[in-house]
Structure formats: C-alpha cells, structure tokens
C-alpha cells in the first residue's frame, strides 16, 4: 500500500525542518558581515576561518572538550558494561531499580544534576577542576553504554559462553575471547553516543566548571557576549564537520552488524 500524499508531505517537511537550519548555519560561516544576521548576506569570504583558527581560546576549549569527553566515555564504558552484565545475568535482583537509577540523570532536567553537584562542591569545599567536569558528564554517559550493552547481551546466545567454559576457558578468557568480540560494536555505538553527549553538554558543565571553558561553554559565551560574531559561525561550521563524520561512520559499522536479527 502507498502512503497518502499528505502523510508523505508531513514526513518530508519534518525532515526538512530538522536539516534546513543546519545548512543555514553552515552557509553563514562564509558571511562577510560582522555585526548583523542580514539575509541574504552581502558577500561571502573564507577570511573568518583564518581568524577562528588563530584564536587560542577556541583551541583551548576544543581541546578541553575532547579530553573531558574521552575520559567520561572511558568511565561510562567500564561502569555501563559492568552494570549491563550484572543486570543481564540476574533476574531477581532489583534490576528495575538499577535501570531507573542509571536513567535518572537523563530523565531529570540537567539543571538538577548541575545544581546538586554544585551544592556538593560547595559543601565539601572541593576545588573546581577537570575532574569535577568529568564526573558530572560520566553520570549521564553511563546509561547510553548500559542500554547498548544490555540490548546486545539479550541477543547473545548463552550457549556460546557455555561452550567456551566447556572447552576449559576461565571466566576472564571467556570474557576476552567470546563476550568482548560479540559486544564490541554495541560498546562502540554506546561509546560514540556517550562521547557526543559529553562533547555537547553545557547545562551541567555550567555548574561544575570553574574558570575552564569546554567548547559548549565557550560557544555559549560567544552567543551571549560575542567578541567577534562571525567567529561563532565558523566555530559552528567546524563543530558540525567534526561531529558528523564519526557519527556517520559509527552508524555504518553498527548497522551492518545489528541489522542481522
């Protein structure tokens, strides 16, 4: 049966709604204008790319964001996988509670996590650092790894593990040579998602970063108190470029293996 024209139009209109603003922001990176957002732009230039790439604050923020995201993802990978393994192997233990606990940081507004961490930092007089940022990020990254790993565990057949044990492998060998290869793509997808979430996080970070600026914090400062407005356009262009490619690749890798049901 064919879809009605109205339904098709609504679907493609929603898709256009999602993408046209991104195309516009890419286009504005070439705008010559410095102050306003006049459409159509009076002229196009590559000049602002050079200006942006020479701004040390942009590079510092990008560097910090990459580091924070890498460490938060590593923590989330370990904790999320462990939690998924635990929940998968036992039926009776308060598994619903654990799922809910891991889900809370993304189900409750980010500002709650932010102000909760901020008030603890204040109460215990903990100095702001790289680690206060990382801890805030890892709390909501764990659930993405957990969800992906748990879904893969559920699809895995128990007989593989049993066969491995029967052939004399110990638990660690079974994990290394049987479970891990099976889990790999799910973990990769979970890690990509965790990395993207952390790389993009601004609400929690506002409360847990002292003077340090992650890229989103830097962007937010640019939006509210711009030093050079066109630099924001170019930074947007660069960020879209560097996030799109890995996400596309991750999708290709994981869809190839997960489509086989």
């Amino acid at each position: 049966m064919k879809a009605s024209l109205g339904l098709k139009a609504a679907a493609f209109a929603a898709l256009a709604f999602l993408h046209v603003p991104l195309l516009i922001v890419l286009f504005y990176a070439f705008n010559v204008e410095e102050a306003a957002f006049t459409f159509p732009p009076p002229g196009l230039t590559l000049n602002w790319f050079a200006v942006t790439l020479q701004r040390p604050d942009f590079w510092r923020a990008l560097g910090l964001s990459l580091q924070v995201a890498a460490v938060a993802t590593a923590i989330a990978l370990v904790l999320g996988t462990l939690a998924a393994a635990a929940v998968h192997r036992t039926r009776f233990f308060g598994r619903e509670t654990i799922s809910l606990l891991l889900l809370l940081p993304i189900a409750l507004p980010g500002i709650v996590t932010g102000i909760a961490l901020r008030s603890s930092i204040g109460l215990f007089e903990i100095p702001f650092s790289f680690w206060t940022i990382v801890i805030g990020h890892a709390t909501f990254c764990v659930v993405t790894v957990y969800n992906n790993a748990l879904a893969r565990f559920r699809r895995m057949s128990k007989s593989l593990v049993e066969a491995s044990m029967d052939l004399g492998a110990n638990s660690f060998q079974t994990f290394r040579y049987v479970l891990l290869p099976e889990l790999a793509t799910a973990l990769l997808a979970g890690a990509m998602l965790a990395f993207a979430l952390s790389f993009d996080e601004v609400i929690v970070t506002t409360f847990t970063a002292g003077q340090q600026q992650t890229l989103p914090i830097w962007m937010f400062a640019q939006l509210t108190r711009p030093r050079q407005r066109p630099v924001t356009n170019v930074a947007a262009f660069i960020v879209i470029a560097i996030t799109t490619l890995p996400i596309y690749l991750a999708y290709r890798w994981t869809s190839r293996t997960t489509d086989v049901h």
Partner: protein
Amino acid sequence: MLTSLSTTIYRRPWLALLLLLAPPLAYMLVFYIAPLGVLLLNSLWRLDDFTGQVVREFTFQNYLALLQPANLEIFLRTALMATAVTIACAIIAFPLAYYVVRYASPRWKGFFYLAVLLPLWSSYLIRVYAWKLILAKEGIITWFFEQLGLSGLLEAVLSIPAIGGPSLSFSSLGMFFVFVYVWLPYMILPVQAALERVPRSLLEASGDLGAKPSTTFRYVTLPLAMPGVIAGSIFTFSLTLGDFIVPTVLGNSSFFIGQAVLSFQGSSGNIPLAAAFTIVPVIVMIVYLLIAKRTGALEAL
C-alpha cells in the same frame, strides 16, 4: 591464579554479581544520589542576608519563597512552555515516524534514521544559534515574509502580547520554535521504536474483521504507539523544564526555571533558594516517571 580466581567467582554467583555491580552502583551513589541528598539538605538551609553565608539551620523559608507570585509565575511559564513544546513535538514526530515504519523501503528507513540522528548529535548550542540567525529581525524569516508581501502578518503576530516581542528572536513564539526544533529527535526515536513493535498481524486481523484503515489506526496503532509518545514526552518535557540556554539566547527578561536557578546560584550565591527551586521540577518529573512506568513507557526508552 586467574583460573582459580575464576572458579571461586563461578561457584559463588552472588560474588560475581557483587563484583560487577559494586563499581557502577558506588559511582552513582557517590556522584549522583549523594549530591541529590546534599541538594535536598541545602534547600532546607538559608542564606544570611547580611553575611551572604549559608546558615545550616533547618527552615522552610525557601519553600515559602517559592509561593511568591513572581516565583509561581516562573513555574507556570516554564510548565506551559514545556507542555506546548511536548504536544508540538508529538504532532510533528508522529507522521514522520509512522511514514518511516509503515511505508519507507529498508534503504529509506536507514536514511531517515540517520537523518533524525544527525541533528541530534550536531551540537545543541549550534542548533539554537542557527535559529538565532533565522529568527533575527534582519534574518531569513523576515526576508521571506517580505518577499511574499506578508510583513504585515508577521508584525501582527509579533504584537500579540504573551507570545510576541520586538522580533521573533526575542519572543516566546521564537523560543517555542527553537525548543520544538532541538528536542524533536528525542520524540521521533521512541515513537518510531514503539511503532516498529506494533505487530503487523494485529493490523491484518483488524482489517480482516472489517475495520477501515482509519479505525485500525484509531483503535489499534495509536494505543500501541502511546508508550512511545510518553517515553518521548519524558525527554521533551524534562529538557524544556531545565533548560536555560534557549530562554537566555532568545527570551526577554522573564525568567524560566533554569535561568532562575542559575541566577540564584551565581550572582546572589543563594544555593539554598536555588536548591528549593530545582526540587519542583524533580517532583514533577518523578511523578511523571511513575505514571509513565505504569503505562510501560520506560521499556520503550
């Protein structure tokens, strides 16, 4: 060594469970649940107006302060926006998800899936910023209306008191567009997942029993897709409740919850009041989650 350790663990399933569960559980307790406890505690303390220090005495004065008309207005404004955004997201997401699940070929399905994910993963701030460009007074929407000779219509909409403003980029209406835009993928994905799970045999059975396609949609598809909509609404609602970026970048001077919390905490250093302020969205979301749990929506996340 490893083998004997492995055997020890294998013989005692509870030990294995403990070893697996301890690190994630400890992390969440120390870095999430404990801070929530500190937050709750803080909301019962008060700020000394003269010294600007937090006084650790129990008091409900922060909660009483929430009842001041100015603060109630902030809650109401935020909740109304979150509700409107959630409804709009559901209305836009549903046809897209329905088309993809029911009619798109596998190739197109992959394309749509990626097309919904990509904006989600390209920076949230950049997507907000994109709309700042689009909605600006001299921006693309104004230009578009001028080309169509409909500038008067735009002016008329902007002059409506509660939703208008000096330009779309400083109005509640603009804010609404941006919220819908940034959270839309969070609605599409769970709705799509729920629709995927509606068994085709049920639809065929309904048709065989003489139901028209619209009847089948109304009585079979829609109820079965509802958990997906509810799951999506948890995100759209919660994300709008706690956001301070969109109201700061696009709003006027009237506060949303997130901005109020940020300003109590930041400029006035009044963490107790900021804490009490966040307890409200926490309670709202916990009630929401409990209701969602009963509909089975949490399974659809």
